[in-house]
């Protein structure tokens, strides 16, 4: 998939520091408990350079995990390190190397994007001599240059989201953490930023959470599925899809059959076929329906298969 917009990105990507050292984010046995609730249970993973997706049901703990890696909240137990630098014993050096977009990103409404980003550049300790240049660069990359003199009060949600993405790039981070960066963006913007994240990931670790895995599937190096406090899958997307093979079925039902069966079936898609219901069914065993046949799983089928395992709620 070629993107015609993304050529300007390459200048940001040139790394300033020597990154021949092992570029790796390592999480070791991360557990997080809130009072009696366990939000995350023994999460371990190591991520090399590349684009990594974090997905899972609402409330599965994606945001909690990203907040822990960003150093916003502490895990109950476990270790986080980036290129051998520990988040807990060496947190200043760790945090200097990351860029983070929180799920709810607030802006100061009285500032223009330029002033806002300059403020963040100062907070991040970017030397004054290069800060102005850096702000221009990230505004260019996030495609917000044309609104530079409007105060953020007048910006739409999607435009503010782009300021948040720009802010995460200011310090040329080795690890870019983004919590649902595409939310509120329209289809063209989504397409542009998907490609941007892919380009950025050639030189750094990009970890982003998303609900719409289809858009990033072709670009991502790996995917992590967080559900019921645990990583239910981690690895390349094609391997995730293999797990659902043999668990997806296609059947054509009449109105009456559909009404009888619909509460007991897990349905991944429903289409009208000349007055009949064409239904894709997720089931580890062959459903008891006449004429049902096994089909190849799509990404969406696979996701539903994995999160509906062991319980049908």
């Amino acid at each position: 998939m070629q993107c015609i917009y993304v050529t300007c990105v390459m200048k940001l990507i040139t790394p300033k520091m020597d990154r021949r050292e092992k570029n790796m984010l390592v999480l070791d046995s991360i557990t997080k408990r809130f009072k009696k609730n366990t939000a995350l249970n023994m999460i371990s993973l190591s991520l090399p350079k590349g684009l990594h997706l974090l997905t899972g049901p609402n409330g599965a703990g994606k945001t909690t995990l990203l907040r822990i890696i960003a150093g916003i909240i502490a895990p109950t137990t476990g270790q986080v390190s980036l290129n051998g630098i520990s988040l807990f014993s060496d947190s200043v050096r760790f945090k200097a190397r990351i860029g983070y977009l929180p799920q709810k990103f607030g802006v100061y409404p009285e500032m223009t994007a330029q002033k806002f980003l300059r403020y963040f550049a100062d907070l991040k300790g970017i030397p004054a001599s290069v800060a102005a240049q850096k702000v221009e660069e990230v505004m260019d990359i996030a495609k917000i240059t044309s609104f530079h003199n409007k105060t953020l009060r007048d910006w739409t949600k999607g435009m503010r989201q782009k300021v948040g993405i720009a802010q995460g790039l200011l310090n040329d981070p080795e690890l870019l953490l983004m919590d649902e960066p595409l939310s509120g963006l329209d289809p063209q913007e989504r397409y542009y930023f998907c490609n941007l994240f892919s380009q950025l990931s050639s030189e750094r670790i990009v970890l982003l959470s998303t609900h719409i895995i289809e858009e990033l599937a072709a670009l991502a190096d790996s995917i992590m599925l967080l559900d019921k406090n645990k990583l239910q899958f981690k690895g390349p997307i094609p391997r995730m899809m293999d797990t659902a093979r043999g668990g997806v079925w296609l059947a054509t039902l009449s109105e009456g059959e559909w009404n009888n069966k619909k509460t007991e079936l897990i349905v991944s898609s429903l289409r009208d076929n000349n007055g009949l219901y064409e239904v894709r069914i997720i089931s580890a065993v062959r459903p008891e329906i006449t004429g049902v046949c096994s089909v190849e799983p799509t990404l969406e089928d696979t996701y539903i298969y994995l999160v509906s395992k062991d319980d049908s709620e």
């Binding site: 997905t55 609402n58 509120g184 329209d186 063209q188 989504r190 898609s269 289409r271 996701y303």
Partner: protein, 252 residues
Amino acid sequence: MVLMMIEIKSLRKRYNDNCIALKEITCSIGAGVFGLLGENGAGKSTLLKILATVIEPTGGQVTVNRLDLYSDKAAIRNQLGYLPQEFGFYSRLTGFEMLEYFAVLKGLTNRQARKTQVNEAIEQVNLGAVKDRRISAYSYGMKQRLGIAQALLGNPQLLIMDEPTAGLDPVERNNIHNIISELGRSITIVYSTHILADIEACCSELAVLRQGSLVFTGKPNELAALATGMGWQIKDTASVKDGYMSLMEAAR
């Protein structure tokens, strides 16, 4: 069952003095599921709000089954269900209680008939198992489905929803697709989205808005066909996304 036919003619909407949200929109929306795509700020929510009779247009005409949207507002509202982009919930009520409350507001005064309707709406969005739980304990996806149930009270023939899938996880998004596909067999549904897969999953017709104007109306495969021969790399067949991207690129 009455089939809905919406005719929109030269519809214009201007906010304040200088912000033109819609300019000269003309299209017709028939039975089935109608999707609305477009950039942020293109006018999708404005168009949906006008169809839901929440705001008035500056000019032009909209008729629903030949009834004028503004002079026959009450008659049209009788057949209308609407889920706005941000819907407020009473989190201390249970799902059932909130729907019952809305049903009273919608004029369902007969206790037994109201109860039947509320339970039907709950079944349609698969919330039966949690209907007696407080809304504060609902997940985001359950709330969104409750919002749809609210719109279904009074058996509307026209259902309007503004980004019903925004922020939902894949399973919940899929639940909404299934609900839309099933309802779309008997009523007209108009909804907006940023997610092109939503369109492919359920829409029979769609429109694309850009800067207040309609730049496309037709079927999903017709939009996809626009990509052919426009220099976009196409895998096996053109997708709705390919078509959308080439349309927007050409409109620049």
